[in-house]
């Protein structure tokens, strides 16, 4: 878990300690440092932060170790000088660092609740639920079991937070409902009727009615109808006779005027004295009583239902039940009940299922009658205790001190958990992608600065010259071109055997080389190897910044060059070079520093378009994919890291402000 907070802390300690010792020794010898060291201090701080990441990237040879050790040493040295010479500045930095903790906590909270309010349910994706709906009901039951298992594994069967702000109407059981659509519908019902108990009864009654109806065998009913042709099976038998009353079979005591028709397990009863009336028929089959059919008065043969009628009725009502489970649109619900009523009225073979249907209707009526929607207006706090999703996410389930990395360590131990979809460690995934994106962004930004600042300064110095106008025109043309278009053009012309096959446009290393081999190379070797892959993405990334940065630089410089102190500098006979670079340039840097602060969050966000076009598997691609697929542990990690790095970026830029402009102070004015 390289990117865990613990590692970063260790790294920072490693960074401070040798520098502190060295600086202390130096300080003993030489009491005062000149302020000009401050710029190097800024550079040192930045390189130190960069080094933290580079070192984690792994260095392989002695040269690199010495090189990085040198950078670390210098950075640390300058930081500790600060400690001795400008303690108030250090205090300010420390305050800001301490403030990171509550800010980060708020960011995690925000991230967590954004995750929770998202419309996607990871369980549906993991349990392949949509695929599972492909066929028979039994498979849905099976799929529900898998979903329940997944929910338990992800801890989603727990309450969301230590406490929940809600209303009196809210239930603390809603999160236990497995199906996402059902959960959402129950939530809507709660908002509408505010009586959870009745809503839950209604929900269970729909599920019961659905489960009952699923048992209806179209073939059995159809077979029963077609097997017993009236003339063939007329037999008298007084052994078992009865009548269907409200769905219950009641045997007759006096059977003198009753006729019993039977075959196999079925018995058909009718009142022989009233053959012109509609009669009840019952059939015993496999211990189930079916109210079979009616017969017409004008025929001695019964009326036989079409198989289509049985089939369509069953499926329509099943579909209606599914709709009730998932929808609370008044018009839809009304229509569902109206269609179901007419089917139950029309087909007596549905009689055994009529009971559960009426129970469901009754439950619905009770829910509507006992509506306590006012409860939605009364706020309430529900205390859920420590066994909740946020706690598990924050603290994990691994005991402190345990080395068992199979258990989640929680965010406070720098463990963002496992990807919902792949089961991979989010830390490993994010770190791998971050390195790729950060390298790309850093080089692109440095290149943008290297190109743009001189253009901006020179443009301001030679205002309205041919260079100024020409460079502005060219840069603005570039600025107006969308980067996906430029990227595709670059590929077409510079990564195409038909034109110039100069660079690669797919990935960041040679596909014939395994990634392990690539990462075993030293950093410089890797950089050299990746250079042909990086050129086009970097150019696509930074060309638009040329216009942006150079114009900002130019404006800042123009303003500064018109200041009195510049005139004074010229008046006292300084060379133009000194006037521009020593006096004007430094004071024009503030807007540029502000932009620089954005590098860090940029690296976390990555550039989706550039990464997609160049198949550069960095943070942009990872974030986009995670959002699309509902892989929220990754989204949340990106969110938290972006927040954290934005804070660091702004701290760095604040420090840099004071370095370039002594009028800006980080300490409180006395």
């Amino acid at each position: 878990m390289i990117s865990s907070l613990l590692h970063i802390v260790i790294c920072l300690i490693a960074w401070f300690t040798p520098g502190f010792i060295a600086a202390y020794a130096l300080n003993k010898r030489e009491q005062n440092f000149e302020p000009k060291w401050n710029l190097l201090l800024g550079i040192g701080v930045l390189s130190a932060f960069g080094t933290v990441f580079i070192v984690f990237g792994g260095q392989k040879d002695v040269f690199e170790l010495v090189f990085y050790a040198g950078i670390i040493f210098i950075s640390a040295f300058l930081t500790t000088r600060l400690m001795f010479n400008e303690p108030q500045k250090l205090l300010y930095i420390l305050k800001r660092v301490v403030l990171f903790i509550p800010t980060f906590f708020i960011i995690t909270l925000l991230a967590f609740f954004i995750l929770k309010s998202s419309p996607m349910d990871p369980v549906e994706a993991i349990a392949n639920s949509k695929a599972g709906k492909s066929a028979a009901q039994q498979n849905n039951v099976s799929n529900d079991q898998v979903k329940a298992q997944v929910r338990k594994r992800l801890g989603l069967d727990k309450p969301t937070f230590y406490f929940s702000f809600g209303t009196l109407a809210d239930s603390d059981e809603l999160h236990k409902v497995i199906d996402q659509n059902h959960r959402e519908n129950l939530h809507r019902l709660t908002r509408k009727y505010g009586n959870w108990k009745e809503i839950n009864d209604y929900y269970n009654s729909i599920k019961k009615a659905k489960a009952d109806l699923t048992q209806l065998s179209v073939d059995s009913i159809y077979d029963a109808n077609t097997e017993f042709l009236f003339p063939e099976i007329v037999q008298r038998d007084t052994a078992v006779e009865g009548w269907m009353v409200n769905g219950q079979f009641r045997p007759y005591i006096d059977s003198s005027n009753k006729t019993v028709l039977y075959k196999k397990n079925c018995i058909h009863l009718y009142d022989s004295s009233h053959r012109d009336s509609v009669k009840e028929w019952v059939c015993f089959k496999k211990d189930t009583i079916y109210k079979e059919y009616r017969y017409r008065a004008d025929s001695s043969l019964r009326y036989i239902y079409k198989k289509d009628d049985i089939n369509n009725s069953k499926n329509t009502i099943l579909n209606n039940y599914n709709t009730l489970l998932e929808s609370e649109n008044d018009a839809v619900v009304k229509d569902v009940f109206s269609r179901s009523d007419s089917l139950f009225d029309a087909y007596s073979f549905l009689y055994p299922y009529d009971k559960s249907y009426h129970r469901l209707k009754k439950a619905r009526k009770i829910m509507e009658q006992k509506s306590t929607s006012w409860k939605n207006y009364i706020p309430s706090i529900q205390i859920n205790g420590m066994d909740n999703q946020y706690h598990a996410w924050l603290v994990g389930t691994r005991p402190f001190g345990s080395q068992d990395t199979t258990l989640p360590g929680g965010l406070i131990r720098g463990d963002f958990g496992l990807s919902y979809l792949t089961g991979e460690s989010v830390n490993a995934e994010i770190w791998r992608k971050f390195k790729i994106s950060f390298e790309l962004v850093l080089i692109a930004v440095i290149l943008a600065y290297l190109v743009s600042i001189p253009i901006g300064v020179y443009g301001a110095y030679k205002k309205d010259s041919l260079f100024d106008k020409g460079s502005s025109l060219i840069l603005f043309i570039l600025y107006s071109l969308p980067n996906f278009f430029v990227a595709l053009l670059l590929i077409r012309y510079f990564s195409n055997p038909d034109n110039f096959m100069w660079f690669y446009s797919n990935g960041y290393h040679d596909y014939t080389m395994a990634e392990d081999v690539y990462y075993e190379m030293s950093y410089w070797e890797r950089l050299k190897h990746s250079a042909p892959y990086m050129v086009l993405p970097i150019v696509s990334y930074c060309y638009a910044m040329f216009a942006f940065i150079s114009r900002i630089m130019r404006v800042g410089m123009l303003e500064t060059l018109n200041q009195d102190y510049i005139r004074t500098a010229r008046a006292k006979g300084l060379s133009e070079s000194k006037v521009v670079w020593k006096h004007a340039f430094k004071n024009s840097l503030l807007p540029i520093i502000t932009i620089f602060a954005n590098i860090f969050p940029l690296a976390v966000g990555g550039s989706v378009i550039i990464e997609m076009i160049f198949s550069y598997n960095g943070m942009g691609m990872a974030s986009l994919k995670a959002i699309y697929e509902g892989d929220y542990p990754i989204v949340i990690a990106v969110f938290c890291l972006a927040g954290m790095l934005t804070m660091i970026g702004y701290l760095v830029s604040d420090i840099m402000y004071t370095l370039v402009d002594p009028r800006i102070s980080l300490s409180k004015k006395k």
Binding site: K130, A131, K133, L318, F503, P532, V539, Y628
Partner: protein
């Protein structure tokens, strides 16, 4: 020293060099140019670089079924039997011969080859088959794609204590799929996935009992069994195939040939393991695939876009280096019409057969084939591919015919009564316009297709409103029956698969893949009859009748069967391309073909 590092001096020097030194920008440019490419690969290496257009969603042997998973699995796993890609017939893979079928057609007795070994050297026996079948049928197994099909066919596995290589596959009844249902199931090793033999304590009877409560032990077993196999744990991939994974990377999955693999020496094409290494390169963007092929950096691609292959074929370098082909495949594109909308949010515009038939006459399928896929597709009129022997060739493609469509709409009572150029009709007292949303997955080709359809519909007073959706919403709306019409496509197989998944009324009622609400007792009984029919002639007659029913009802406007676009490097000798997935047999690719070096 202090002077050298003074801030002003540093800045001054840098900027001075930048602006006044004419070598500054050329220097940056030179650094960029120094990054120019070197030649990357040797065409002599015995490695196949195959293209995947998306990452596999995991490589679990039984729980995943995405296209990339299927492609990769062919070199890692083996099923009991498989489809012969040349003849589309089932042939034994791990069995010695065809099964012996009992008189009642319910018991299939198989005898396994005795030389088959797992990677740890253990014998592959009937116990592994029993374990695999128990696993894939079990409630707690996360394989909802396969489970319904298997459960509708397989009853149990019976072992022979005296012969560990012999077993009976007991079926639920006579079913056309009895002899092919295991063709897509990769065998898993019990010792590897269930070292404590927990599933031995679970009977097939228990597995089929929907009310069975599972013990903690079984639940835990399936938690482990369902664990995805991904980038973080590729070493857990274990199969009977000739290759094993050595690396799972962001853009590639690398497989090497197993040493002393049990199938070595077998002459069948399905037991070849010629390449030393097979690398699946994940290239998701079409333009990158195009460029990689131009550079000669992919050996095999079956996932090209039609447009790209047509462009590539104009390049002499590509033609010198690649065989390319527009090959048949079992896949079709359709427009689904919602026959049973809720009537509230979605109006019943397609409830009548005549309206659906009219719509079929208004879809310019031939123009779409010509314009959108450059003629590289064939008309398909029902759910069965024209490649199948039981395709109903008496059904003729429905032509674009405005007059016929107008007549059908008039007959159905849809007329423009208010002069707004959109037909309307009063249904249940409500005046409804013949206007609908045409959903499609956000994609330039589908968008153009939807616009072509809209234009044709408008000519006879039908308003089609194209509605672009991302995949999740599109699919979700289809499952919820919350759509009017949708452009979709299905990928099929040479083997018959239960039509009930897409066309039974139950699949509509349970919000499954029957999006449109097609079906009645007759079509359901036909499906059941087809599924249960093992007499080839009766099967053919029934399935052709089913196609005729679909043709008549038009729940889908069946459009076309699009061709697969394949490019294979010429450094391989006589590679073959098949209609059945995955379309190529990578492990049989043999070096020695003539090709030019890829252009730089």
């Amino acid at each position: 020293m202090a002077l050298l590092f003074s801030r002003e001096l540093v800045i001054e020097n840098v900027i001075f060099v930048a602006v006044s030194n004419k070598f500054y920008y050329p220097l940056i440019f030179a650094v960029l140019l120094l990054s120019c490419v070197e030649n990357r690969r040797s065409l002599e290496s015995n490695t196949v670089y195959a293209h995947l257009n998306s990452k596999p969603d995991g490589l679990h042997p039984t729980n995943k079924s995405s296209g990339p998973h299927q492609f990769i699995s062919t070199i890692v796993h083996k099923p009991l039997y498989q489809v012969d890609l040349r003849t589309n017939e089932i042939i034994p893979t791990l069995c010695i011969d065809e099964p012996i079928i009992s008189d009642d057609g319910k018991v299939y007795t198989y005898e396994l080859r005795k030389d088959i070994k797992w990677d740890d050297g253990q014998d592959f026996t009937g116990k592994d088959v029993e374990f695999t079948v128990k696993s894939v049928l079990h409630d707690l197994c996360n394989n909802p794609n396969m489970k319904p099909v298997l459960r509708s066919v397989i009853d149990s596995v019976r072992l022979y204590p005296e012969d560990p290589y012999k077993f009976d596959l007991v079926m639920l009844g006579k079913n056309v799929s009895n002899g092919s249902v295991m063709a897509d199931i990769y065998l898993v090793q019990q010792q590897y996935y269930d070292p404590e033999y927990i599933l031995d304590k679970v009977s097939f009877k228990d597995i089929k009992n929907p009310n069975k409560k599972w013990s903690e032990e079984v639940t835990r077993h399936f938690e482990n069994y369902n664990k995805p196999i991904n980038r973080s744990n590729p070493e857990e991939l274990n199969g009977l195939g000739p290759y094993k994974i050595i690396a799972w990377e962001d853009n590639a999955l690398r497989f090497v040939k197993k040493k002393n693999w049990w199938g070595e020496g077998d002459t069948s094409i399905y037991y070849k393991n010629i390449p030393d290494t097979i690398v699946f390169r994940v290239i998701t963007e079409d333009h990158n695939t195009y460029m990689e092929l131009k550079r000669g950096d992919i050996d095999v691609s079956t996932k090209l876009s039609t447009k790209d292959l047509i462009r590539l074929r104009k390049s002499a370098a590509f033609n010198a280096n690649y065989y390319s082909e527009f090959a048949d495949q079992f896949a079709y594109t359709y427009i689904g019409l919602n026959m049973k909308p809720d009537g509230v949010k979605r109006k019943p515009v397609f409830a009548e057969k005549k309206v659906r038939q009219a719509i079929a006459h208004l879809v310019p399928v031939d123009d779409i084939i010509e314009v959108m896929v450059y003629g590289q597709a064939e008309r398909q009129v029902a759910n069965i591919s024209p490649l199948a022997s039981y395709y109903n060739d008496k059904l003729k493609p429905i032509p674009l015919d405005h007059k016929k469509a107008e007549k059908l709409l008039d007959e159905a009572g849809w007329k423009d009564t208010d002069g707004d150029n959109i037909r309307d009709k009063v249904i249940n007292g409500e005046k409804i316009k013949l206007s609908f949303q045409l959903n499609y997955i956000t994609n330039a080709d589908f968008e153009a297709m939807a616009l072509m359809i809209k234009d044709e519909m408008a000519k006879v007073g039908v308003e089609a409103n194209p509605n672009s959706l991302e995949f999740g919403s599109f699919y979700g709306q289809a499952l919820q029956h919350d759509f009017d019409a949708m452009i979709g496509s299905w990928q099929g197989s040479a083997i018959y698969s239960d039509m009930g998944q897409l066309w039974s009324t139950e699949a509509w009622a349970t919000k499954g893949y029957n999006f449109t609400g097609f079906g009645n007792s007759y079509s359901d009984s036909l499906i059941r009859y087809v599924n249960s029919q093992i007499d080839p002639e009766k099967f053919k007659a029934a399935i052709q009748e089913f196609q005729a029913v679909l043709y008549d009802e038009q729940p889908y406007v069946f459009m076309y069967q699009i061709k697969k676009k394949v490019a294979i490097h010429k450094r391989f000798i006589n590679p073959e391309v098949y209609a059945e997935k995955p379309g190529v047999i990578l492990q049989a690719f043999s070096m020695g073909g003539a090709s030019k070096k890829p252009s730089k």
